[in-house]
């Protein structure tokens, strides 16, 4: 098999396995998996910015929440149906990422981290401030009757799983195509050496802004899908914690790999799930995992695999 064939086999294979999984897994785990797939979309978006382009943002919760509220408010305030509302969420995430990017990308490194953190924090506080519309910390539950695409009831297990899988597959294949495209090569060049890339004729600001907007689209879509599929929209999803989670998934799975974010989300989700059987110290697990990752496995699962010879891994 050529590298290209292996890559397609791997990614289409993953989607096929996930499709089959719904018939095998008990409902509890199937719902978990649907959740993981949606969170993976979020993490994939994070990975486009962080893993490939080297933009370490601490503000992605803002884009996730923008998607979630863009979707939720379109449903409740504007009276849109689920599908346009989902797209509204996607667009909201991308637009907000663009707006933040225009400002934040004037900085780099540690300053970029703090600026994105600050913007996300301001966004979270704004959600609280406009609590009468947003529901603040308590959030709101879009009515079940609103969560329909045509006659597909998204609050039922099977359609929910299928929609999650469909969006996940779309996001995964798009990401695969992106990173293997010439633009993907430029993204990596930007991560590796910005000054050199500039002297090859690339405008760093433009490239990073495009990347951040793409990343925002992913985060927005994930937020919108999460709210739609699991019927809850709330300001907690805008807290710093939800900026950290995708970073954790990406670090664990392997930054700069296409299926790393999914692998990381899967592993982390079940790690927390298992740990919560033993202790309720959820945060401790997250914290310890973060420290352990940066210390012992900064390249994550797939990054380590790629170094050990699986060089074709995109």
């Amino acid at each position: 098999m050529t590298a290209s064939q292996k890559i397609w086999a791997l990614h289409l294979g993953l989607i096929a396995v996930l499709f089959a999984a719904q018939y095998v897994l008990p409902p509890y785990h199937a719902t978990n998996l649907a959740r993981i797939m949606v969170l993976s979309i979020f993490a994939m978006g994070y990975n486009i910015a962080f893993g490939y382009t080297g933009l370490l943002s601490l503000g992605h919760a803002l884009f996730f929440a923008a998607g979630m509220y863009g979707m939720g408010l379109s449903l409740t305030l504007l009276g849109w149906t689920a599908l346009p509302a989902l797209i509204a969420g996607l667009v909201a995430g991308g637009l907000l990422a663009g707006a933040v990017g225009v400002l934040a990308l004037r900085t780099a490194g540690v300053s970029f981290m703090i600026v994105t953190l600050m913007f996300a924090q301001a966004g979270y506080l704004a959600l609280l401030y406009f609590g009468t519309i947003t529901g603040g910390d308590e959030g709101f539950n879009p009515d079940r009757s609103l969560r329909m695409i045509g006659s597909l009831d998204l609050s039922a297990d099977t359609p929910r799983y299928l929609v999650a899988l469909g969006l996940f597959a779309l996001a995964l294949l798009l990401c695969l195509w992106l990173v293997r495209s010439p633009f993907g090569r430029v993204m990596v060049a930007m991560r590796e050496n910005e000054e050199r890339s500039r002297m090859l004729g690339y405008n760093p600001f433009a490239i990073k802004l495009i990347t951040l907007v793409l990343s925002g689209f992913y985060a927005g879509l994930a937020g919108a899908a999460y709210g739609l599929l699991f019927g809850y929209v709330g300001a907690t999803f805008a807290t710093i914690q939800y900026s950290i989670l995708p970073m954790l998934y990406v670090l664990l799975g392997g930054a700069g790999t296409v299926i790393g974010p999914f692998l990381g989300a899967l592993a982390m989700f079940y790690l927390i799930d298992l740990a919560s059987g033993i202790t309720d110290a959820y945060f401790f697990v997250v914290g310890a995992a973060l420290v352990a990752l940066v210390l012992f496995a900064p390249k994550g699962i797939l990054g380590a695999l790629r170094e050990r010879g699986v060089r074709w891994l995109p």
């Binding site: 090569r185 430029v186 990596v188 590796e192 890339s197 500039r198 002297m199 690339y202």
Partner: protein, 239 residues
């Protein structure tokens, strides 16, 4: 014939230091032009101004009659001014292919694979396509850097100390390569190695204290007393 690139009366001061202090330069299309001068003469700052890495404080730069004085570096690259770094600056964690491909696709060319192969074989690295650039030998990295510059298909190629750290045999190959670029590509060469300069350059500009001391053919420069005093420290450059 109108020159391809003209820089007029460029200034760049860093605090009290006048790195470039009213220097001018004109490049004829197709020539190999060397820029020489003692350490600290402002050569690197000067080409920084030309390539856009350092902003110009006053003066004017034109490329084929167009004012590019305040164009950002990446847009100058698109206009056809390529710069290869003094310190080798390839992407070490990318493959040799990807390094050149980045330059090829920046120039907006179709037939990516074909073009990359062409440029790599031109510098003699065709067999190394799949290797990580960081694992190449130093000399090969310099060649890769050159291939990246060529792949941008520049009108003006600025080579900043290209032979630094190369072995004698590698320098011979390099000279042949640069000689083969003219007259399609105009080359501005910053070089310490006088043999390379005297063999390659059609014209030479000598910079000292941020100002142009002399311009002329290698023959002129060799015989110029001011250059000998300021730069060559009295001993004859012909040896």
């Amino acid at each position: 014939m109108a020159p391809l690139m003209v820089a007029q009366d460029l200034h760049r001061h860093f605090g009290g230091l006048r790195a470039v202090d009213g220097a001018s330069l004109s490049l004829q299309a197709g020539e190999i032009h060397a820029l020489i001068g003692p350490n600290g003469a402002g050569k690197t700052t000067f080409v920084g101004l030309l390539s856009g890495r350092v902003p110009v404080q006053s003066g004017r730069i034109e490329l084929a009659g167009e004012d590019i004085t305040h164009l950002p570096a990446h847009q100058r690259v698109k206009k056809g001014i390529a710069y290869t770094f003094q310190i080798t600056s390839v992407f070490p964690r990318l493959t040799v292919f990807d390094n050149v491909a980045l330059a090829v696709q920046s120039a907006g060319a179709a037939g990516l694979d074909q073009q990359v192969a062409t440029h790599l074989s031109r510098v003699g690295l065709a067999d190394h396509e799949a290797m990580l650039a960081g694992s190449l030998s130093y000399g090969h990295q310099r060649l890769l850097e050159l291939a990246m510059g060529l792949a941008l298909r520049p009108r003006v190629l600025i080579l900043d100390e290209p032979t630094q750290g190369l072995a004698a045999s590698e320098i011979e190959g390099f000279k042949a390569l640069v000689n083969g670029l003219a007259p399609d590509t105009t080359v501005l060469l910053i070089e310490h190695n006088m043999d390379v300069v005297m063999d390659l350059a059609h014209r030479i500009t000598v910079l000292n204290f941020g100002q142009v001391l002399a311009v002329g053919t290698p023959q002129d420069i060799r015989q110029n007393r001011a250059v000998q005093d300021a730069y060559l420290g009295g001993h004859d450059a012909a040896d």
